[in-house]
Amino acid sequence: MNKGECAEMTLLIQAGVDGELAPAEAARVAAHLDQCPACADTESQLLALSGRLRRELPFYAAPDALHAAVRARIAAAAPAPKVRSPAAPVWRRLSWRNVWPVAPFGAGAAVAAVALLLLLPTGGGLPDAVVASHVRALQPGHLMDVVSTDQHTVKPWFDGRLDFAPPVKDFQREGFPLTGGRLDYLDERPVAALVYGRRQHLIDLYVWPEEGRPDVAPTSDSRNGYNMLRWRQGGMMFWAVSDLGAQELADFVRLWRAA
């Protein structure tokens, strides 16, 4: 074979390996390969390399926590809630409708149905998921969706974005200032995450509704050096997680429950 023809063949051989040749071109390439050992060798090297790349190099699928975080942040960025529950308590509809263009839907029937599907607070991998979410949020560059030390800013921010109204409290004077909030995703549902500071530490307080369930006193847990306290109060589930010591976290929870 003459060199000119082989040079012209190179990209066509590659295109054949990549499945990009039309039948007529493929036939022309095949005819050349039949008679040209050098080009046939090129083709087999390309095929072998392609096989090795696909077999041996990792495909980095997105971790579950990233899938969840993306969904939560997109949900937070979306303009309006999906479900408007007709069963929303009248008092809540009345109290917010005139204030907020997007009527928050109360913790109604739809939410109660979702709550039935939730794991029990002690169950499964939820502690791991809570810690993973907290750790992710600590990473540099991770954004808070709403940065404010004013509970009267943080609370309405959630109201347009969640199907429940998380209670928002500030403990600035007690040394646990509210620093903001974000939407997160736990147990296959969007939850509110309130962020509090304590010296250089952060506390994430995750809140979601568990309507019609009895109050439960705080239970502590820890994972990988992070302390957790969870409790149920007034039909809401709370998980506090931080790298603070267990005692200080318990102080925070005591304040919260008493306020």
Binding site: E20, L57, A61, A62, A80
Partner: protein, 180 residues
């Protein structure tokens, strides 16, 4: 939590989140940065979604990821926070060179322990960024030439020649898959 746009976005774009993460991870060679890029890319894609007019959603998302990845690498390089050595592409453009992923401290890369992987991985890592991205898009993301062109913003002919140069480099570095 959703308008009609969100449901559609979840159906059309979110299935490509794994592909987005894989590309980001290969482009920046940093697990944390890759995740941040994917989050930003998804949010951006969502905010641009009203201007998305159908077509190839995967290539559309990967283009956003790719551009954010280079912006992030560039910012990091300018901040001088890493030891990235400045690479020059085969086209003579200035591109951030990539770090060789350290498979040893990366639990995701258990494959690294497989014979031959480290060598192939390393050879891929030392390619100029524009060649490497073409190869990753073609071989790992399994995009067509046309889609690779769409993601990288160059003509199909350029994609073909970059792919060839990338493969030549790998074959010449002795990592080609000839039967032992």
């Amino acid at each position: 939590m959703t308008g009609p746009g969100l449901t559609e976005f979840e159906r059309v774009v979110l299935p490509h989140l794994d592909a987005a993460h894989n590309l980001a991870r290969w482009l920046v060679a940093d697990a944390t940065l890759a995740e941040d890029i994917v989050q930003d890319a998804a949010l951006r894609a969502f905010s641009y979604f009203s201007s998305y007019r159908g077509g190839d959603a995967k290539a559309w998302l990967l283009r956003i990821v790719r551009n954010l990845a280079y912006t992030a690498l560039d910012a990091r390089r300018r901040a001088g926070t890493t030891s990235l050595d400045d690479g020059t592409t085969a086209d003579g453009e200035d591109h951030p060179a990539m770090q060789v992923p350290d498979a040893a401290d990366d639990p995701e890369a258990s494959l690294a322990r497989r014979e031959g992987f480290a060598r192939l991985d390393r050879a891929l890592a030392t390619l100029p960024a524009d060649l490497r991205e073409c190869l990753v898009l073609r071989e790992l993301e399994e995009l067509s030439y046309k889609e690779v062109a769409q993601v990288t913003g160059v003509p199909v002919g350029t994609v073909m020649s970059r792919l060839w140069r990338a493969r030549q480099a790998l074959m010449q570095s002795g990592t080609e898959g000839r039967a032992p």
